[in-house]
Amino acid sequence: MRFVDEFRDPELAEVLGRQITSLCEPGRHYKIMEVCGGHTHTIYRYGVQDHLPENIELVHGPGCPVCVIPMGRVDDGIAIAERDGVILTCFGDMMRVPGGRGSFLEANARGADIRMVYSPLDALRIARDNPDREVVFYAIGFETTAPSTALTILRAAKEGIENFSVFCSHVTIIPAIKAILDSPDLRLDAFIGPGHVSTVIGCRPYEWIPRDFGMPLVCAGFEPLDLLQSVYMIMKQFSEGRAEVENQYSRVVAYDGNPVALRVLADVFALRPFFEWRGLGSIAHSALQLSPRYAQYDAELRYELPGVRVADPKACQCGEVLKGVLKPWECKVFGTACTPETPIGTCMVSSEGACAAYYNYGQYAKQRLNLEVLR
């Protein structure tokens, strides 16, 4: 059994917790969304919520790239892998994601050749080593991984590797935040901005959030203390009547991001008119496709695909969890029909999914709280 881990500096955590409490307006309830799945993981792992006063609620957002891949895109990947001579490659997190026709793992059991890779450059190496096979990289991820795919395509073009292509499901964070803000289901007060994504895009792309919605956003690191400090910075903004973009993770994130990565993204990719997100539905300009210049590396043009929209299983409430409307444990099938071993929904597959994070760690935090109440 795994328990919630201790903070590295419990005293500092306590001081921050007290300062945060002192900044709360009595009677007001604050909902702060952490957009990034890595943050969700840290929050449950370390019981960050336990260090916050009751009227500050952390709400989990859509920032888990595996979780937002819709069933139909999984089926498209399987359709590619079932073609003669194709090797499909993907990140390990993708293997167990359920589609309408099962997962990649199940497709392998039926005879497909789907291989896990650490890097898109590994996929390119497999293409180089297997000139008689067609190698497709199933690209997923937010702006954190998209530049790596882009640089790999540039390398393939430079080396003239023709048996390599990319099935691109890269998504972008800003339109997803916009969709959540436009959704009538949820009232939020502030955002904890993603750390790694911001390494690439910087902090400027968030500036419309305080400007148009009057909400603070603080880009945060991944340590539990980073998250507490970010909540403190948000509460400080509230108490001083400010709404700004601030950068708590400046030891890694530059305000203007990584200019080389941004240039490569702009060169290799174009925005899709729309893209379906699992749970969130179709969002305009929220995903990347290969720009016409690199069309020959686009698996969606190279192969005929089902491209069918497949409805999520009825029992699954990942959509509500991804939007922050439901907490993982409020889902009907959480921990019963849907577990990390036999996931129904994507949020239970990836370790960054809110359901998997809560399943692995959160319930122990809750048990511990109950124990404290009993004492």
């Binding site: 795994r2 650490y118 590994d122 954190t144 530059a254």
Partner: protein, 91 residues
Amino acid sequence: MCLAIPGQLVEFLPGNADQLALVDVVGVKRKINIGLMDDVKLEIGDYVLIHVGFAMSKVDEKEAAEALSMLELMGQAFTDELQAVAESSIE
């Protein structure tokens, strides 16, 4: 996939548009791509955060050590990631 693993630059490797470097990741030397760091002055001994085989940002030694101890606490997820890194062969 979303984990950032810290590595220390050991050697710049020739060829491939000078995009390859050897880094020390938890005591093991691995090849990574540094093509996204063109605007940053990198020197041997510097620390970088690595995503899916690509250096994405330069960090100081303290941040690298903290990132690593954080990853070690992740248990299985980090073990899996290191396993994936070990099987990776970037050229």
